[in-house]
């Protein structure tokens, strides 16, 4: 029994045949790789971390040099994000301070007062965020649904001029946004699509469609035709076979495509800046231009960015299981 090493609850294993042996060299390499990943994660997360702490700082803390890591948390950023304010005149300030000593002033007003400002009304942040949700949500839905059908056709049928069509679809992606915004601006003003939800939904759908079609085609190509053929001989029509057999297996692909499309539409800046002004303006251009009294409101911008991140985080988190399988699709032997 000298050759056997008793480990765990299992049977004795011959030392020579064990596959879980770890050499010091391997262990070192493993640790180095882990260290590398940790460093990478830290570098990647620093901006997010700074954003989060800035959202809860007061303005003096936010612009303090060197940056403060320890500070008294404040809701100033959030209050500034959701309100329009004006700087109060010294006499008005006195008035407000008096009111604050009593109980007539709300918490929100007090926070504004601390910065020497008076709240004049709600900001348009919520409105912008809602625009973003509508435009990104509907355009993502549209591009994914359209892509599912066209990609399936490209994958399964001998579409005439398939190669050219696929290239054409991809070519819509080749020019940078900045180059096409000016002609688009002119077209949109003529067509009265400027600063409309429909205009932005159309634009993002078209822009996302190329990526979505190519992605989905790859996923459909990976699904063996035999499944549909089996369904066909089992007595189902092509359409039924598609919905009952192909679609459930394409779920990972659909999830991955959805997230890619959503992230693009959600984060898009250049088109939104040029093609929207009031009614349909989305969050990205408005957060970046959030100017308060006496300069850039860093705390409000940080708070606004934080709120802006949340929907994407939720969607990605909800789809994480599909995503992981989605991005490794094809690499795994079925």
């Amino acid at each position: 029994m000298a050759n056997f090493e008793q480990t765990g609850p299992g049977k004795p294993v011959l030392e020579a045949t064990r596959v879980d042996k770890v050499t010091p060299g391997y262990r070192l390499g493993h640790n180095l790789r882990a260290l590398f990943v940790v460093i990478l994660a830290i570098v990647g997360l620093i901006p997010v971390f700074v954003m989060i702490i800035t959202a809860f700082k007061t303005r003096p803390d936010a612009i303090h040099v060197p940056p403060k890591l320890i500070f008294t948390p404040s809701l100033e950023g959030l209050v500034f994000l959701f309100t329009e304010r004006a700087s109060a005149s010294p006499s008005r300030l006195e008035e407000l301070k008096k009111a604050a000593e009593g109980v007539q002033l709300s918490l929100v007003d007090r926070i504004a007062l601390n910065a020497g400002q008076e709240i004049t009304g709600p900001s348009d942040y919520v409105f912008r965020l809602r625009n973003s949700l509508i435009i990104a949500g509907i355009s993502t839905l549209l591009s994914v649904v359209l892509a599912i059908f066209s990609a399936y056709a490209f994958s399964r049928y001998g579409v005439k001029g398939k190669g050219d069509l696929l290239f054409f679809i991809l070519s819509t992606r080749m020019l940078p946004a900045v180059v096409v915004t000016v002609p688009l601006f002119l077209m949109y003003t003529q067509l009265k699509l400027h600063d409309t939800h429909i205009g932005m939904i159309l634009l993002y759908t078209v822009f996302n469609l190329s990526l979505a079609v190519w992605l989905m085609k790859g996923f459909f190509d990976e699904i063996p035709r035999e499944y549909e053929e089996a369904a066909l001989v089992d007595g189902y029509t092509r359409m039924q076979a598609f919905f009952k057999i192909v679609l459930p297996q394409a779920v990972t692909g659909i999830a991955a495509t959805t997230v890619f499309c959503l992230i693009f539409a959600w984060n898009e800046y250049a088109f939104a800046l040029m093609l929207t002004s009031e009614k349909a303006r989305t969050a990205p251009p408005s957060i970046a231009t959030m100017l308060g009294i006496g300069g850039i409101e860093w705390t409000a911008i940080a708070a606004g960015s934080l709120g802006f991140l949340i929907p994407v985080v939720i969607v990605t988190f909800a789809l994480r299981n599909y995503l992981l399988r989605g991005v490794t699709f094809g690499a795994v032997r079925k």
């Binding site: 063996p224 035999e226 053929e229 089996a230 369904a231 066909l232 089992d234 007595g235 039924q240 297996q249």
Partner: protein, 365 residues
């Protein structure tokens, strides 16, 4: 149950003539095997019968009903795929009941049918598993159950054992044979494995290069191959084929003393077929040769292989032709020694090198 009839059925892909016009009539309850090397058109033929592939020309009749242009779902046939094609996202039970649900059967009826067929295939204990958790053999059993459950007019099987391990393959082969005897369902089975074809088929359709080479029982294609292709393709090793010089009823193998007189009944057809040409191909199975010190034919031992119950001797009859002879496993024949042998006259075949077709002996000879 059904008869299947192919009339001048053919298939052309853009450049490729995948199946040249072929005729085939399959009787009710018959087990027909389409056999041939890969790319010979056998799978395309099967897919045309199923409707998964359209025909370029010809007609397909199922029970005398013209189904040439019917959708696969309207043909009442079941298809078993090489890689099972079980739907991975649903359980074995749902896979099996899938075709029944297409027909809108009642829940009780579906349950009853699934129970019956899974008992037949001994897979009752696997019904709640997903296909991905099953072994290859069990997956193919589920696929067979899915095909059987609907009691279709005919079964089409595309290399159903091709993806299985060797040990499984033989037991599944026997299972399919039992199943066929049990159900007596018309079956068309595609394979490139001639042993499988001989074991299973009532009749074998040998195909090569988009053309049907021969249709016949296992014994027919083995003993009476219609042409050189079938002679080479069937059997392991294939038929020995030696080119000889033919004069007046005697075949001489060039460059040797080997002479072989035509057995009774061959003289007239051989004379008529060859006319002025004097080239002939002599064919015989390894078991048709008997080693015999007084044998009229001879050659040098090139190699000797023990195959278990018997040995196969590779004998060089002249510089070009090595023939295989099946011998007793206990006697050792050293390499390069000369051996003599005779041929069983009933198991000798002749081929015309020009047309590659077999020459048929006189009837009753």
């Amino acid at each position: 149950m059904a008869t299947i009839e192919l009339q001048k059925v053919e298939k052309k892909f853009a450049e490729l003539h995948a199946v040249k016009p072929m005729d085939l009539t399959i009787q009710d309850g018959e087990f027909v095997v389409l056999l041939g090397p890969s790319g010979c058109g056998k799978t395309t033929t099967l897919r045309m019968i199923s409707g998964l592939e359209t025909v370029t020309g010809g007609k397909i009749l199922l029970n005398q009903r013209d189904v040439t242009w019917l959708h696969p779902s309207q043909r009442d046939i079941a298809f078993v795929f090489q890689f099972y094609a079980l739907y991975p996202h649903i359980s074995a039970r749902d896979n099996i009941s899938f075709p029944l649900r297409a027909q809108g059967e009642s829940k009780e009826e579906i349950e009853k049918q699934v129970k019956e067929v899974s008992a037949l295939l001994r897979i009752e204990h696997l019904l709640n598993q997903r296909p991905g958790n099953l072994s290859g053999g069990d997956q193919q059993r589920v696929a067979l159950a899915r095909a059987l459950v609907r009691r279709p007019a005919a079964f089409l099987m595309d290399e159903p054992l091709g993806a299985l391990d060797a040990e499984f393959r033989e037991s599944m082969r026997a299972e399919i044979k039992r199943l066929h005897i049990d159900q007596h369902a018309t079956t068309v089975y595609v394979t490139h494995d001639q042993i499988e074809a001989m074991a299973l088929g009532d009749r074998i359709v040998v195909m090569s290069e988009a053309v049907v080479q021969q249709i016949g029982t296992a014994a027919e294609v083995y003993y009476n191959p219609a042409n050189l292709f079938v002679a080479r393709f069937i059997g392991s090793p294939g038929m020995n084929l030696v080119t000889g010089h033919y004069v007046d009823g005697v075949v001489t193998i060039p460059g040797t003393q080997n002479r072989f007189s035509l057995p009774v009944g061959w003289r007239k057809p051989v004379d008529e077929t060859l006319k002025e040409s004097k080239e002939i191909i002599l064919g015989f199975r390894p078991e048709a040769a008997q080693l015999n010190n007084a044998g009229k034919l001879s050659g040098e031992v090139y190699a000797s292989e023990l195959q278990g119950a018997f040995a196969v001797l590779h004998v060089n009859v002249n510089s070009d032709d090595i023939v295989h002879i099946r011998t007793d496993r206990v006697i050792n024949y050293p390499i390069d020694t000369v051996v003599h042998f005779d041929l069983n006259p009933e198991m000798v075949r002749f081929f015309d090198p020009q047309s590659e077709a077999a020459i048929q002996p006189e009837v009753g000879a």
